[in-house]
Amino acid sequence: MKKVLWALVAFTMLLGGEAFAQAKKDYKIAWYASAVHPYFDGVKKGVEAFEKDTGITVLKQIGPDWTQESETAGLEALVAKGYKGFSVYPSNASGVNAIYKEIQSAGGFAVNFGAPSQQPTPASFTVATDVKYAATLATQTLIKLMGNKGNILNVLEVMTDPNTVLRKEGVELAVKAMPGVKIIQEVADITSIEEATEKIQNAIAAQKDKIDGIVCTGYTTTVATAQILAEYNKTAKKKIRFIGIDDDPVVVKAIKDGYIDATIAQNPYGHGYISCMLNKYLIDGYTVKAGAYMVNSGALVVTKANLDTYSSMLGAVTADILKKLEKDYLVAPKK
């Protein structure tokens, strides 16, 4: 029985260790995603393209959950293994800074992808959508769809996330600019699709005939609202207009079927490719240009009209950023 147990332990360790064996000695770049998620699949494609184009192997590790504790433990292990360049999705905007300090002390570099860490931060760069801009863009698009007047239900996610505060500001900024539009209700503190479904449906019930449009600036709430409206807009006398964020298959299907209007697509491919490229430059001795930190990876409004072409449009945005990287964000090492 003991032998069987030891064999099982050894097998599990072998499985877990497979990813480590891929690391290449030269650059020692690691890519770390919090958990299994379709968004990270898109980012991983960008990392793989970087590997193909540069010949540099990147260690790709996906954590077990969205907690900062798990992420910190995972990154600590990689620091101990001598990795220098880290491309990381911060599970918690403020909590991640502690491990970034450790990375910095060990002579390494951290580049955020997907979301920024809270300022002041030891991270060298953040490659992400400008969340406030994306929220403003989404709300402006929704207001246009509503005919520049009416009531909006603003759906936010976790209020303790600094990015949620920025998204809230972005939505409010767009609404403030339009006198005929107001936020009729705000729903927040949502962490799961089930919770989102319940809360959003409750809010629709509360303001049923008054809501003209819904804006969601988080992934979970967008998926839930797309599903709710796929059912609601089928039979409702007055269609509720909607814009969300990210291109989850549920959201894309709802746009294709005509139940929802639009979503804001981020650039996951660029998040992966550009963050790894920045790590390469930093390991090569480049330093961060004064004032450079945020690399805006772009965001696009996706509607039924550009559903088939938006991916290539985002690819062009990535290529453009890569061209400007040395000039706009970095200082070359002195020879």
């Binding site: 299994v36 379709p38 699949d41 209700q185 503190d189 699709i193 409750n202 049923k208 998926v223």
Partner: protein, 330 residues
């Protein structure tokens, strides 16, 4: 009439029913959108999902255990049904049967490990929750399944004479649960196992079998809830079950299921679920400040539970006497 009223008052669920009624009437008068067809329809659907989740927990609490892997089993059942329908074009009935089989099998694993190793159900189901969640994520890679047959949505989205199909299914299920625990030998054996394990064993009940059975039923309820959720959302989300743990314990305990085992109430579960759903619904209808929502939620749950326990608290303060008991019987 007085006897009937006394009989009713002696039921442990009366407080829970009273608390639910107070909330129902309160929100009806405090908001103009509570008592509307659309809202009540959704309250009914949420109630159904909440109670099915709670049934999965209550059934193992009956034998003195708990199931922390309930949500993870729900996730496994979700991707099983979703993948079978989307990737292998299985019909909804066969895919649902397979998902329930997965739920029962994973429940059996929990029960088997608990009874064979004599480890606490908390430890065992905590460990299996990680195993099952890992399988869900590893198999699905986090992608939802959206190409499901339209006919599958009838249960979650349809209604009969305005009553959500989910509520009808819930009522039938609770009637079966009530009958099972009240009138069947197996049901009584389950209660006896949780009430006093040693006494049950000494009286000839195969307690290990009962614990395994309770875990299998728990897995089955988790799988059924997952199917109802897929049917309601018209897609199979791998993240399904992520928030079930708190709901399962809260509804079960508010509904009168004992944490130490030996008791369950179908009526209590229904009204316990209703209390939770009404509070969450009412807070949004009343547009409570989102920053303080959790505070209000906690306060109202506490008040509702206290209201539900008033009778018990009173009886604790005034010890029963033989004379009083005799007087009541007369």
């Amino acid at each position: 009439m007085m006897r009937w009223f006394d009989n009713l008052r002696s039921k442990s669920e009366v407080g829970t029913i009273g608390a639910a009624l107070v909330l129902f009437l309160g929100f009806t008068f405090l908001t103009d959108s509570f008592f509307t067809a659309y809202n009540l329809f959704n309250v009914g659907r949420n109630l159904s999902v909440y109670v099915f989740i709670a049934l999965g927990q209550a059934i193992v609490m009956v034998v003195g255990g708990m199931n922390l892997s309930l949500g993870a089993i729900g996730g496994l059942a979700t991707i099983t049904a979703g993948m079978l329908m989307q990737n292998l074009s299985w019909d909804p009935v066969s895919a649902s049967a397979a998902a329930i089989a997965v739920g029962i099998f994973t429940g059996w694993i929990n029960g088997f490990v608990i009874t064979k190793t004599k480890l606490n159900s908390f430890i065992v189901t905590l460990a299996t929750s990680f195993i099952f969640t890992g399988l869900v994520m590893g198999i699905s890679k986090g992608y939802p399944m959206t190409k499901l047959p339209e006919s599958f949505n009838i249960l979650g989205q349809g209604n009969f004479l305005g009553v959500p199909n989910l509520v009808l299914l819930l009522v039938v299920t609770l009637l079966i649960v009530w009958y099972f625990f009240r009138f069947t030998v197996t049901g009584r054996h389950l209660l006896a196992t949780g009430g006093n394990l040693s006494a049950a064993r000494l009286s000839g009940i195969k307690t290990d079998k009962m614990i395994v059975l309770a875990n299998m039923l728990s897995g089955a309820f988790a799988a059924i809830t997952a199917l109802l959720w897929i049917s309601r959302m018209a897609s199979a989300q791998p993240a399904t079950g992520g928030n079930w743990m708190i709901i399962s314990f809260a509804v079960a305990v508010i509904g009168g299921t004992s944490l130490t085992g030996g008791s369950i109430s179908a009526v209590g579960l229904f009204f316990g679920g209703l209390i939770m759903v009404l509070i969450k619904n009412g807070l949004i209808l009343m547009q409570v400040d989102t920053y303080f929502e959790q505070t209000f939620l906690g306060m109202i749950i506490l008040l509702a539970v206290l209201l539900g326990q008033t009778k018990e608290l009173k009886s604790r303060r005034k010890p029963r006497t033989i004379e009083k008991d005799l007087g009541r019987k007369v």
